[in-house]
């Protein structure tokens, strides 16, 4: 059975003020129907641009998708007409965003914002669309959904807005939901609510989910596999247990060690990754992580390592992956 989504060598660049920003530099991954994965990375690692690219929401100017394929349900999204692509967006692939405060249009009622997608994709009439919208709102646990359809976004709390965003995204029964840092702007307790909600809905509706996050902890319990991005590249991709137990890439390792453990006692000094992320205006020809990597050798500073398939769905982009793994036998788990 073919994958639901197959991304191959995706390249996206931005042209701004005379500079070229190499945001995504050949990203490949695949996702099966109903499966879930996470793309993890820090600001500027290219994780958001990757999913924006596959939704073809990168606007030119300044951004342009310059290469690769995005095979979704056996069609290459990058080769569809704008009209065909529009029929997929919000319908087969839906997306929710980081900041529920700004992702809803402040001057339009929730009802209108929820129904416009339904009407465009499912051809529902106004009545039917409103009914469906209310149904979706109650599905995401919003009380009194029918009455609240005429309210405006500012009349809801942050958590409620994110619920509305989820309802909106799922209203056309998408095969794939992309959740772009959906909980970052929310408080811990609300985060938990939202994660539970998406997780529950995924099981209920059987859709695939891509989580975008900078927080390795957040996605640990909810995905099947994880891709770690750094400097516009996927540096490591593994089934979830494997990644947390045996991180192969020094960056993954560093990230895991930089997080203080909630269950530990005194941990001594916190592990820190010195230096700063690479400047994507001048992307290195070599391993992008090399300047910050405690394991880096000359080779790392000379050439970009390939994404090595290690079997069992694990792959890593590091010249010294084996050695690193050996040096950290215990992994990051404590």
């Amino acid at each position: 059975m073919p994958s639901l989504l197959e991304v191959r060598d995706l390249v996206t660049r931005f042209y701004s003020e005379g500079a070229v920003i190499h945001a995504v530099n050949g990203v490949s991954f695949s996702l099966d129907t109903g499966a879930s994965m996470a793309i993890v990375g820090e600001s500027g690692s290219g994780k958001s641009v990757t999913v924006m690219s596959l939704m073809r929401l990168v606007r030119f100017p300044p951004g342009r998708i310059e290469g690769g394929e995005v095979i979704f349900e056996e069609r290459d999204l990058l080769r569809l007409s704008e009209e065909e692509m529009r029929r997929i967006r919000g319908n087969r692939i839906a997306m929710i965003f980081q900041d529920p405060m700004t992702s809803l249009n402040p001057v339009l009622s929730i009802g209108l914002q929820m129904t416009e997608g339904l009407r465009a994709h499912l051809g529902l009439g106004e009545r039917a669309a409103r009914d469906r919208a209310a149904e979706m709102l109650s599905l995401v646990g919003l009380p009194r959904p029918k009455e609240r359809l005429d309210d405006y976004p500012h009349q809801f709390s942050g958590g409620q807005r994110q619920r509305i965003m989820i309802a909106l995204a799922l209203s056309c029964n998408p095969a794939l939901l992309i959740a772009d840092e959906p909980t970052t702007a929310l408080d811990v307790t609300v985060q938990a609510q939202i994660v539970e909600l998406i997780q529950g809905l995924r099981e209920k509706l059987g859709m695939a989910v891509i989580w975008i996050s900078h927080n390795l902890g957040l996605v640990a319990g909810v995905v099947d596999k994880v891709a770690v991005m750094y400097g516009g590249h996927i540096v490591e991709q593994s089934p979830v247990d494997e990644l947390y137990e045996h991180p192969r890439h020094p960056y993954t390792l560093g990230l895991l060690k930089a997080i203080p453990k909630m269950d530990g006692r005194d941990q001594g000094r916190l592990f820190s990754i010195d230096g700063m992320p690479p400047d994507l205006r001048r992307p290195p020809e070599s391993c992008p992580f090399a300047p910050r990597c405690i394991y880096a050798v000359d080779r790392c500073r000379q050439a970009l390592p390939p994404l090595d398939e290690l079997g069992a769905g694990q792959s890593v982009r590091c010249w010294r992956a084996d050695e690193v793994a050996a040096l950290n036998v215990a992994g990051a788990m404590r």
Binding site: D187, G217, D241, S272, M276
Partner: protein
Amino acid sequence: MRTAEHKDVLVRVEDLKVHFPILRGLLKRQVGAVRAVDGVSFDLFQGETLGLVGESGCGKSTTGLAMLRLLDPTSGRIVFGGRDVASLDQRELRASRKHMQMVFQDPYSSLNPRMTVGSIIIEPLNVHKIGTPAERRGRVQELMRLVGLNPSFINRYPHEFSGGQRQRIGLARALATNPSLIVADEPISALDVSIQAQVVNLMADLRGQLGLTYLMVSHDLSMVRYISDRVAVMYLGRIVELGRRDPVFDTPRHPYTRALLSAIPTPNPKRERERRRIVLQGDVPNPANPPSGCRFHPRCPLATDVCREADPALRNIGGLPDGPPHLVACHHAENV
């Protein structure tokens, strides 16, 4: 981490209240108040780090600002060095700034974009007329080295630095006058994970080197757990639980603390999958109109009638005899 010796109280906060008036009507009369901080008391011991945690809007940042009187408290006392900061006049207050400093959350807006790094760091020295001009310049270099910045960048502007570096500049500014207290308001929340650790480590090092006392305001519980000696948990303008770090984290006695802790994800897929979260229902109520009785009762899984009626006081529930008490404001603390 080192555990501080709890003997000298550096700051004593007593029944601190910060209310923001709500004005309405033709003549803008006050019709109510947002009770951002509504009766908070705690001691801050010399050399310790107190973590102040809670969700957004719980009043933790307001408490921090009011402690330094960057916001005027509505009532209450803040005793620092034998004097009530809340009642100092402007001149005395400015002089007292030398001893208590702040590190801000946003590394972007907390540095004046039109000033060089050098002039930002030297400003407190100029304001308090510490040393000769030459000494001040030397001090700036020293401070920059102390926080891990290359002193050759002294004439650069903030926008040329990364978030982590800016936070270091902010730290250097705060340390310039050799303060004894630093209030850090979410100092790392705007930084990337890999940078956060750098700043946290730096702050921990500085505390050791300079004998600083920190009030660490944060919503990041894992970081608080890492850096604090004691932890205070705030909910809707009140402290609901206050005690030494490990007891609070390991055996929380307030249902809210428990829910808060259970919500924190850990990077361990197996444990995460098995874990049962306590998912709180609903949202934080409006601080202008807090619920009767225990403010947490509408969301509390353990709430009973008494919670709806009586406002629970902070009470000691099994702190160690020789150490600071473990305070909880819950009628049912024993059952949690």
